[in-house]
Symmetry: C2
Subunit: 281 residues, 2 copies
């Protein structure tokens, strides 16, 4: 049997009782370690689970599916992913490969940022399409997510922005070499995301500011380490978010749409004051 098990968002104790039981009994257990991270590392998980984990980095997952799935028709293999198993297309692909090989698969769901973002008090059914904000380079500055935010905002909907993660990215220089060298891991902060979002509207110009999807004064909510003991949430303007430090990763950003009274009431605890929040909203 091939199990894909969601670990949730915080630390080792966020695995479900069902997931833990499988992890304890499986012959091999992989930990996927490049699409997301917990607030604790491999060692803390191994200690809590009472067993060794095999790190599955991008190369192994994308090119070594056969290795991961080896003998899974006869023995139990578990593949652990941060959040929920269906959060990344990579895991869907791995399940497909397993099914092709005639291996029975089971999925153990858990919280992901797609539902845990409810913690900021904006109701999940008031969100539109989720967007991803990638790190820009000097020569590659995509902004296709801008139109999606605009479309959500026009209909009064909130937008969850997933922020880029770069783990085990080979350096440009080593791409053609046999032995790859890797860049240090990077996790986009709410501050970096706000800066990129503001650069986009600068480029679009002030002439049609009424037409912009959002402005410097648009209410946004930054969240960090959701579900952990050090979780942080801040509600302020996009301009203020640019100068906000919510600490270590992972961060996500919400661009607010129309606020309902209960949402406003809940959000106050994360703003400077009720007056300030009402002023922004």
């Amino acid at each position: 049997m091939f199990y894909v098990i969601g670990l949730g968002l915080g630390d080792a104790k966020d695995i479900t009782a069902r997931g833990l039981e499988i992890v304890k009994n499986a012959q091999r257990v992989y930990l996927e370690a490049y699409t997301s991270i917990l607030t604790v590392g491999k060692e803390a998980l191994e200690q809590f689970y009472g067993r060794n984990l095999i790190i599955a980095d991008r190369e192994l997952v994308e090119q070594g599916a056969d290795e991961i799935l080896e003998d899974a028709d006869a023995i139990d293999v578990a593949f652990l992913v941060v959040g929920d198993p269906f959060g990344a297309t990579t895991h869907t692909d791995l399940l497909l490969r397993a099914k092709e090989k005639g291996i029975t698969c089971k999925v153990v769901h858990n919280a992901s940022i797609m539902n845990a973002i409810g913690c900021c008090g904006l109701q999940l059914y008031n969100y539109g399409e989720t967007v991803s904000i990638p790190y820009w380079t000097d020569t590659w500055q995509p902004d296709s997510f801008y139109d999606k935010i605009a479309s959500n905002r026009r209909r009064g909907l909130h937008t969850l922005c997933l922020l880029d993660i770069k783990v085990k990215e080979p350096t440009l220089e080593s791409l053609c070499k046999k032995k790859k060298e890797y860049l240090p891991p990077r996790f986009m902060s709410v501050s970096e995301a706000a800066e990129q979002l503001l650069k986009i509207i600068e480029k679009k110009g002030v002439a049609d500011s009424e037409e912009l999807a959002y402005g410097v004064d648009t209410l946004c909510i930054g969240v960090a380490r959701v579900g952990s003991d050090t979780q942080q949430i801040k509600a302020c303007t996009l301009e203020e978010m640019k100068n906000t430090d919510l600490g270590p990763p992972l961060h996500s950003l919400v661009i607010a749409g129309h606020l309902h009274p209960l949402e406003m009431e809940y959000l106050v605890q994360f703003a400077k004051s009720k007056d300030r929040l009402q002023q922004i909203a």
Copy 2:
């Protein structure tokens, strides 16, 4: 401390290790029992947790917040909800009441249908706004969700439809009486949902069929008991869904938007055949 703990979607073992630890040690533990249900009842949970649970029905949650929160500044009180704690506005409201009373609150996240719907293979970031489909009566037949589905479909996005649940609804006759009588619980099936959706387009007429949000041949995906061992998923036309029985609750329905190749590839396993799926899509 006041804990709100998500139970996930399947059965007793879907609670997280963190959640289970809190449940075992709390002085009082409530089980919210009217916005959603697991595939098992109170007794199975009590057996797995090794302790008694207090059922929190609609009356207690909406009118008895003081009772639930009593002494939670000095002792540990846990409030268990199916799915994730932020799935229903009721729970957000309870957290607000606790904060007003100066009670420290902690939330333990878990899977909810909002992210576990990924199990059908349609990617979560390709969904637009989520809608709720209520049971119609002879005199009350709201269809405001139609425009939301239309808006999602225009942009190629999928729509998750949450289906109505009626638990402990007082009978009309007993509404003014001291001792209320209750209707038997009802959980909308994918078949009932498809029937209502088809009635809406019938009413809108065939004259502007090009303009309709969806048609009898639109691809939809019905899911039942997500996350449990008896989970069922079926991909077919809306007309076929009307005649589909996915068994006991809970059910949810997805109206597909534009399908990406990987989504199509994953969805095949839930359709009659690859050819049939391609024909519908």
